[in-house]
Amino acid sequence: MCENEQTMVSVGDTITALATPNGTGAIAMVRVSGALCGALAAAIFGREAKNLPEGRQCYSDYRALDERILDDVVWGFRRGPKTFTGEDTLEICTHGNPLIVQLVLGDLLARGCRSAEAGEFTRRAFLSGRMDLTQAEAVMDLIHAQSERALQAARLQLQGGLGRHLERLIGALLEILARIEAYIDFPDEDLPTEDRGLVVDSLANVLRGTERLLATHRYGDMLRDGFKTVLLGLPNVGKSSLLNALVGRDRAIVSSEPGTTRDFIEERMHIGPHLLRLIDTAGINPSPGAVECLGMEKTFERLPEADLILWVIDGTEPLPTPPQQLMPYLTPDRVFLVRNKADLIGGGTATAEGDGFKGTGDLGAVSLLSVHTVSAFTGAGLDDLRAAIIVRADALRRSVAGDEHLAINARHADALSRAGAALSAARAGLVAAVPAPIELVSSDVRMALDALGEVAGRVDNERMLDALFSTFCIGK
């Protein structure tokens, strides 16, 4: 149930966070502090742990756990105690793209780091005596201001949907814990027969709720960063023209020369109530040249983060086979099939199948996609496409029922995913062929409560006892 918990970390875990402001910029810096830094640098940048260059800036590919290269980065490693925090420190400068930052942070968490709490780097700096009086005073003012702001923001959010949702989850978890603890702490009492099935079901419910909240991480990103819409298609189907038509001015370099767009072109625009981020990518060429190949890889890299993929095809041509890399995302809620050049054919919106496409081979998942026939040239069909995009963006928001403004940030997501993992472990322990000792299940449930408490505020054990004593008649 906790296989990877075997290795012991001496004192304090390794923490990480983005050190530069959130958002797009020239560079972004991710800071890591703690005992793992050396091992991390060695693993990520393919160095020998013993011979890590110290205090020098190095230039390397960032290789993630799954061997993918996330970015080329500049990094520096310093051994404690002569660092900001007094601990081993690793600083990684990536290109200033929030997606890259997200991937890097995600990778570091997967490698055993923990998201730093607000002010935690500074706290460690104090603990190791790395700050003098004047610095301390300056940072105190800063943290004060920050925490007041953060507090205000958090309070607003906690009064709203997130707080209510978390409170519901915490309430349910406290009841689960009360059900478990009653049988541990009062074994001689005349309690009803222990109902583990009920506990398993309730755990599954809380787990679902946690995952649903986690899903809003995406919506939270969308609110901050916009609804990410990637334009994808073969060269010369008119992706850039479509982008310009949607934006309403010549942003992309529109050219009839195939393969002109080799890098990203990104445009932000308001569409209905949403901020739309239209990302135009290099065309997908079945037999790409060397330069285009680079662009294409970048295109596919953008797919996982895309809230919506507009698969643009030339309406005058038969339906092409979808590119392999698109296959994992080929569902009606992620991909719209956009038939451009409607001015050269007839108009209308239908499913791929209903429209009587003459596709190449089995249509499969493609047949379920909604098809939008547009003309970037005349503007025909664009309003319908806009409306459909709004519907998609709205649908994303509704992934948490009953709350329309719910959005969690990366720190919340980290805590929630730890809660989720602990809940899964608890559930697994209960349903195992030989169930785990109940105090271990309780330990997992408490981990989940602690994690939720990091977002909602510390959950006092008194509340579990309140639940216990109101549920069971205890007392000989």
Binding site: M1, C2, E5, Q6, M8, V9, V11, G12, D13, E117, A118, G119, T122, R123, F126, L127, M131, D132, L133, A136, V139, M140, I143, H144, S147, E148, A150, L151, L177, E181, I184, D185, F186, P187, D188, E189, D190, A432, A433, V434, A436, P437, I438, E439, L440, S442, S443, R446, G457, R458, D460, N461, E462, M464, L465, F469, C473, I474, G475, K476
Partner: protein
């Protein structure tokens, strides 16, 4: 007014479970100690049920033993039934429990006090404290006044008033002053506390009727017997041979009692239950109950409700289980566990007789509720010394707790700390990660309590580390630092630790021979597979012979640590993370008002509780992480500017 001319190092007021441990701890550390009690015949009296231990409490008793206290050995030697609770669950939540012979328990403990060097016993009721102005102008206690017009002077005073401080007993509308039926009430001492600015509040507790055994029809009840292999409380594997005292302390006499053989000749308890008629009697007479007619202002415990509470709050539950517990071998008196009430006596009689097997029961003592003063424990330091009066320590029910074990462990800590205070040494503070005693005291002084506080295993966030077998290993360093155990015993504990550590390592690096057919991996892997049921069935006797030859206390500890290694490692990491903030101390003289930026609510709570570490501050409900950051930076700034 005359006075005893000597100046004691420690004066203990009250000889209940807290007072006895306090006096013994102080005297065993070599402090000249005076133990005052209103009645020497009720020393270490079990005022309520005749049992020691149970969930979490059993572990506390083992911790008391690990710190040189008396409760564990006294229970082993006077117990008449032993059971290990939660045997079907994991070791962390298994707890020993024992029924005791109440009189034997008292007599042995009284005799222990009598034989203890450096300890002076005296029967007198403390009526007030003697204060003077200390060095920094702070009020300090210098002695006590008694009802005999005798004054006693001491460097430190430990107050353990139990339920006696303005104790008021209720049976229906009948009221009697006193802390226990047949005993007195300490009425004037409260004035001393109020004079010193110590706030007092009221709590309530209750006890069921006692009946004559000859009037019970046991054939209508189910017997509950002790374990064939009793689990004892004291660490007999490391205990000194010979007399049951600290060998290096002077003994006035040799052990003179005939010890009972622990766990021999056990007696059963008996199970029965309430009936519809019991429920009807309660409902019909609810208006006559002291608790339901508004006679009682004190708050009672939720985990120990009166029978009135049970029928009112859980009206859908048709009946409630009752246990008849013998009060001892040489008495015919039985305790009806589960029938605590403050209904009028005639109703109690009818109620008892509505229970199967008790149709002809003779009540020999009525049930009653008792209200008493307690001093909210957030007025204490973690050493159990008052923040308002220097050298004054509190232990037991006056701190809002309930239970013999909870009282005893506080008494022990207060006795040690009063001695240390008098000698100008820093106090014994047991961490929340070290044992239930640490959790108990930290909860009390940090959060306070609104009902009589009882320990539950679920109150301890690091419960998995608190298996009852490991108390000695967890607390050894405290015992060593303060000289609470004999050198022989400390040496034996050290040996035990080495053995445990060696075998834990060995099981993680060596593999069972392939001829055993135990599958891949180390012994540790096999043990964990065995526990999770994926490789069950094979008995532990395949383990190496050298291991099987070890003492069972060592074997059990090794098996626990190996089998639960993953979870225990997670706990240890959690503890390490929390320790970082625990290490940052807040001076007692710290002015929270000078910290800019704290929220008003937090400031008020911090001022009221006066935490002594950042960790303690973070556990005060209502103080949020931002406040803690601000506080931390302020503390650091302050430290550097000094």
């Amino acid at each position: 007014m005359s006075s005893d001319l000597q100046i004691y190092e420690v004066i203990v007021c009250g000889a209940g479970h807290a007072g006895c441990e306090a006096a013994l701890a102080a005297a065993r550390m070599g402090a000249r100690t005076l133990l005052l009690t209103g009645n020497l015949d009720t020393v270490a009296q079990m005022s309520c049920n005749p049992a020691i231990g149970g969930q979490a409490k059993g572990q506390i008793v083992r911790e008391i033993d690990a710190l040189g206290g008396e409760m564990a050995i006294n229970t082993d030697l006077t117990g008449i039934q032993f059971r290990l609770l939660n045997e079907s669950k994991g070791p962390a939540v298994q707890s020993p429990r024992a029924q005791c012979d109440k009189k034997a328990y008292q007599f042995r403990l009284k005799h222990t006090l009598e034989l203890q060097a450096n300890l002076h016993l005296f029967q007198a009721t403390v009526t007030g404290l003697i204060f003077s102005n200390g060095r920094a102008g702070q009020r300090e206690v210098v002695g006590v006044r008694t009802n005999l017009d005798l004054e006693f002077h001491g460097r430190t005073v430990i107050v353990t008033t139990g339920t006696f401080l303005r104790g008021l007993m209720h049976i229906g509308q009948n009221k009697n002053e006193g802390g226990r039926l047949g005993d007195f009430s300490a009425k004037t001492l409260s004035t001393s506390f109020i004079e010193a600015g110590i706030e007092l509040q009221r709590l309530k507790t209750g006890t069921p009727p006692r009946i004559a055994g000859r009037s019970i029809d046991f054939s209508k009840m189910e017997a509950q017997r002790g374990d064939a292999k009793p689990t004892l409380f004291a660490y007999h594997d490391t205990r000194d041979d010979g007399p049951l005292f600290h060998v290096e302390h002077d003994m006035i006499g040799r052990e003179q009692r005939l010890g009972w053989v622990p766990g021999s000749d056990q007696v059963p308890c008996w199970l029965t239950h309430t009936t519809e008629r019991t429920a009807k009697l309660v409902r019909d007479n609810l208006h006559l109950s002291a608790m339901y007619s508004g006679e009682i202002e004190g708050v009672g415990p939720r985990y120990c409700p009166s029978i009135e509470d049970k029928f009112v709050r859980f009206a859908d539950k048709p009946r409630h289980i009752l246990y008849l517990e013998p009060e001892g071998r040489a008495t015919n008196e039985y305790y009806i566990n589960g029938l605590s009430t403050s209904l009028p006596f005639p109703v109690q009689v009818e109620m008892v007789r509505s229970i199967p097997g008790l149709e002809r029961a003779e009540l020999i003592r009525p049930a009653y509720a008792v209200e008493y003063d307690f001093a909210p424990p957030t007025q204490l330091l973690a050493s159990l010394e008052s923040k308002l009066v220097e050298n004054l320590f509190f232990a037991g029910q006056i701190n809002g707790t309930s239970g013999y074990e909870e009282a005893a462990c506080q008494g022990l800590v207060a006795g040690v700390n009063a001695t240390l205070k008098g000698r100008g040494q820093s106090p014994l503070v047991i961490g929340r990660h070290e044992g239930y005693t640490g959790v108990l005291i930290d909860d009390l002084v940090t959060k306070g309590t609104s009902e009589p506080y009882r320990m539950f295993t679920s109150r301890a966030e690091h419960r998995l580390l608190f298996n009852h077998g490991s108390a000695e290993l967890r607390l050894e360093h405290h015992a060593r630092t303060h000289g609470l155990l004999s050198n022989t015993r400390l040496a034996r504990i050290a040996t035990k630790r080495v053995q445990v550590d060696q075998w834990v390592t060995q099981f993680e690096v060596t593999r069972p021979g392939s001829d055993l057919g135990l599958g891949q991996g180390t012994w540790g892997d096999w043990l964990r597979r065995r526990q999770s049921g994926t490789d069950g069935g094979v008995q532990l006797d395949v383990l190496p012979e050298a291991f099987l030859a070890l003492a069972s206390a060592v074997r059990d500890e090794v098996l626990y640590r190996v089998t639960y290694a993953g979870y225990l490692a997670r706990e240890v990491r959690h503890v390490a993370r929390l320790q970082e903030v625990e290490k940052i101390k807040i001076p007692a003289s710290f002015d929270f008002g000078a910290v800019q930026g704290l929220r008003t609510e937090s400031l008020a709570k911090l001022k009221a509780t006066r935490p002594l570490s950042l960790g303690q501050a973070s556990r005060i409900s209502g103080v949020n992480p931002a406040d803690i950051s601000i506080l931390m930076i302020h503390l650091d700034t302050r430290r550097r500017s000094l």
